[in-house]
Symmetry: C11
Subunit: 152 residues, 11 copies
């Protein structure tokens, strides 16, 4: 049985968002400082109160809670390994032909419909010209008048 | 019959999401540590409880469950190999002409309709000019006034 | 008649998704191992049960099933080759003029409508300028004031 | 009359999707093999049954079916060549003026409307700036304050 | 009068989709071959039947049909050349002023409306930054806190 | 008066879509040929019938039709030149101030509304990263946990 | 007074779409020619009829029409120059403050709303990878299984 | 007082769209010419009539109209300079805090909502592959079959 | 107190859109000139009338108006500096925690929903091929026929 | 206590949009100048009135207002530092598990649904060809005719 | 126990948006200065009032508030570490098979439907041509007329 690491008790940073020190909770910006003794004693009260509460709670209940979680995970593991995983494998084998049959049918009946509707995007033509924006529309200049000087 | 590997019992990493050790379940961030004896005993209780439960369950039922799954997969394999796979092949052969006939009909009746509707995208013209954004609209400058100085 | 390959019986990998060995179905992650004898006997029971069931089923029915599928595919082939394929050819010949006539009519009546609607995309003008985002709108600066210093 | 090719009877791969051999229909993945004699006899039964059925059917009906299709295609060809094709030509000649007249009318009445609506896309301005995303909006910094240090 | 080409009777590939030979209609994939004599006689029956039918039909009616189409196209040509073409020219002359007048009116009344609506696309700003995706939103970091270390 | 060109009577290819020769109307693909005499006489009948009909029709009515069209176009030209063209010029002069007045009003009332709505597109930010697709979402990894190893 | 150009009477190509010669109206494609005398006389009748009609009409009314248009344009010019143009200038001066006031109000009330809605486009992230399309989804491979070999 | 320019009376091209000469109004295309005397006299009548009318109208009313516009613009200038411009400045000062307050409130309440909705565009993944279009879907090839040769 | 600049009385171009000279209001294009004396006297009347009116109005009311605006802006400045600006600062301080709390809540409840919906854009695949447009759909060519020559 | 800067009293440009001098409020464009004495006295009246009013108001109320704001901000700071900030920290800790649980559930139930819907964008194919726009549709040219010369 | 830093009391810039000095609250722009003594005393009153109030409040309540927050965070930490974190781990293990089963089912039933609908985007064709915009539509030029000179 591996030895438990008593210093770093969260080797996988799982719960590090709960790590609240004094300066994570209380902070005074410059120009709004309280008296020094107040601030020093606030720091002490916060830290002691927090540690004391937590240690009492864990001493009372920690070991029994750990034992309970151990048994729970053993049962869950047994159920998943011996029952659910083979069931998923069976489902995978059985539904694979369904997928293929559905694909054949859809490919036969819907495939041509989709392909013929796809023709609507098949004639896009874009001309790009760099330079001036299109001039304001001078409608007096129609399709057949070579010069546009007439109505100027 | 291939020899079973007693060390690495999940050679295909199929169930490795169930692998829960003590530090996957319980973790204390810095600054919130319980007493050392509490933590050390929690570790022991969790590990022992988990192993004990699992071993008892598998000894009682493991062999019979494995036998059951073996027979089940044999029946399923027989059904898929000798019945469903040839049926899919038959379906594939039969639906192929359907797909082609549908394609001919759709191509004749819907193809021209789609193609003529595709004309709507056939005259896109984009002019790109790099540089200044279009100036605020000074509407006093119409289409025919050469200079824009007049109403300034 | 080509000799059947007794070793590789799925030369086209058609049914390889049904290939289930013991470690495809049952697997124990590290830290959740059952007793060794349980695991070794589970392996044996699964493999033997699966092989036995399958062999019995195939010996009883395999040959007759294969004969039946042979006759079925012969009939289907006959129908497709001598009847359906020429029919599709005939359909192709007959519907081709329909497609052309429809095209002429649509091209005459809908083509100009679509072309004239396509004019709506014919004046797109995009100016790109690289650099600063457009400044916050200072509306006090209108179209005709040369300098923007006045209301600053 | 061209000599018929007795070896390659589908020179245009028209019906090659019907080509079903034994291993296109039946296949056993590794680990799920039936007894050798079963597999060998299945192969024989499938192949013989398929060939026998097909040959009997074609000997009985093949020649008459071919004769029938020959006459059918002759009649269809006559109809298309001497009647439908000239009709389509006539239709093409007659509908061409319709198309032009429709084009003139639409170009006169709808063309200007579309062109004037196209003005809506004529002032697109895009500024691209590479680098930082736009900063979180600090609304205290309005349009006219030169520095943004004040409410920081 | 130009001499008719008796070999290549479709110099413009107008009807080449009707060209159906024996192997365009009937084809046997590998593995599904009928008896040799059946196949050889099918080929003969199809080809002879098709040629015979067609020749009889054309001998009986071909010349009269051709004469009829000649007269028809003469009348249509007369109508189009002497009546419809000048009418289209007249229509073109008459509708041209309509188009211009409509353009002037629309340009006066709708042009400014469209131009002012086009302003909605005039302030697009896109910043592109290459590299990392935007980090998960850590809302605790607001607009005015210089460092983001506080709530980590 | 310019001499009329008796050879090329359509110098501007105006009516060349009516040009129907024998092989534009009737065509036999390879493998579907009628008897030679039938084809040769069909060609003659078509060409003669077509020419005869057309010449008779034009001899009877051609000159009078041409005279009628001449007078018609003279009247239309007179109307367009002396009446409609000056009217369009007058309309152009009169509607130009309307356009400018409308522009001033719209620019004053709608311009700011549109400009302020354009702000909605002013903060688009796109980050492009080349390479791997975004990984499957492992939601166990939140915003504040430095490492993602915990729940693996 | 400038001398009128008697040769080129449309120096600004204003009415050149009315220019209809004989071959703009009547044209015979190759293979559909009328008799030579018919065509030659048609040409003469068309040209003479057109010229005669037009000259008679202009001699009768041309001078008076020109005089009328002269007076009309004089009155319109007087109205536009001395009345409408100053009115537009006055309108431009008066509506300019309206535009600015509206801009200030909208910028104050709608500007922030639009800017905050623009945040919706501020987190677009696109990853581009060149090469293979995304593989068919094999859902058996979840987020936490390192290898995907298990269910193959 | 600056001397008025008697030659160029529109130094800012403000009204140059009213400039109508004879050939801006009346024009005869080639092939539709009236008699020479008619055209020459039309030109004279148009020019004289236009000049005469305009000069009489301006002599009668021009000076009084100019005096009236002078006084009008003086009053308008007084109103705008001494009343409206300071009012706009006052409005600008007063609405600026409104804008900032609105920005703070919206940034607090709507900003986070918009930012969290923007996550919907944060996982776009595009793979580009150059070359062949995606092949027609052959649904018989599923996710788990390594080769696609089986149903060909 | 800074000396007022008597020459340039609008140093910030604030009101330069009101600057109307004679040729901003009245202009005669070439070919539409009034008599010289009329034009010269119009210029004089306009300029004198405008100057006279404006000077009388300003002498009567200018000083008092300026005094009034001075007092008004003093009061407004006092209100903004001593009352509204600190209020906005207070609002900024108070709403900042609201924004953060809202962000935490939304990030917890809506963030995962949006992220999982973003998966819909995570499988876009685009193939680009340069060159020919996709050929007209020949539906006779299905997924499994290697060659497309058969129905040509 | 830092010494207050009596010269630059807005070191953070917080209120510089209230800075209104004489020429920010009153301005006369060229050509619309009032008499010199009027303008000089207007300047004096505006400046003196503004300064006098502001100084009287600040002498009467400035000190008390500053004292009030000082106390107000002290109370607000106390509330935010000692109460609201720790509350937000607590909320952050408590809602973090909620976010993760929600993510696990959504990833399990909605993730696969979204991923399978994403397949709709997985087959986009774009062909780009540079050069000519697509020709006008000549529908007489179908899928199977090699040449398009026939109906020209 | 770490020593508290009495100088920098907000080492993580958590509350620096509350830092309000005198010049963050009150500021006078140039040209709107109050009397010097007023400004100097305002500064003193603001700073003293703010400091006094804050210090009194913290002396009275600071230590007890800190003690309360310490205990609160201890309880919350205990609940999260020993109860909620293992629950999430359990949920993760249990929902993982659900996700996979759902994926298999959706992939079988919805996957083919989505794939066949994706065909609609599979035929996009874009032609880009650089240069001139598409010419105004001259509808008289149809598909079959080689030259466009006829109706000019």
């Amino acid at each position: 049985m591996a030895q438990v690491d008593l210093i770093n008790r969260d080797p996988q940073q799982m719960n590090n968002y709960i790590q609240v020190e004094f300066d994570d909770v209380l902070a005074e910006p410059n120009g709004t400082h309280s008296a020094e003794c107040v601030w020093r004693n606030s720091h002490k009260c916060f830290t002691c109160g927090k540690n004391l509460c937590y240690k009492i709670l864990t001493i009372l209940t920690g070991i029994f809670v750990a034992l309970g979680w151990g048994c729970t995970f053993a049962c869950v593991s047994y159920g998943v390994i011996w029952c659910i995983a083979p069931c998923m494998r069976l489902l995978h084998v059985c539904l694979n032909p369904t997928k293929k049959i559905l694909s054949i049918i859809l490919s036969s009946f819907c495939g041509p419909i989709m392909s013929v509707q796809a023709l609507i995007f098949s004639r896009i033509h874009v001309t790009n010209s760099t330079g001036e924006p299109p001039k304001p529309i001078d409608y007096m200049v129609g399709a057949d008048s070579g010069k546009v000087k007439n109505f100027k």
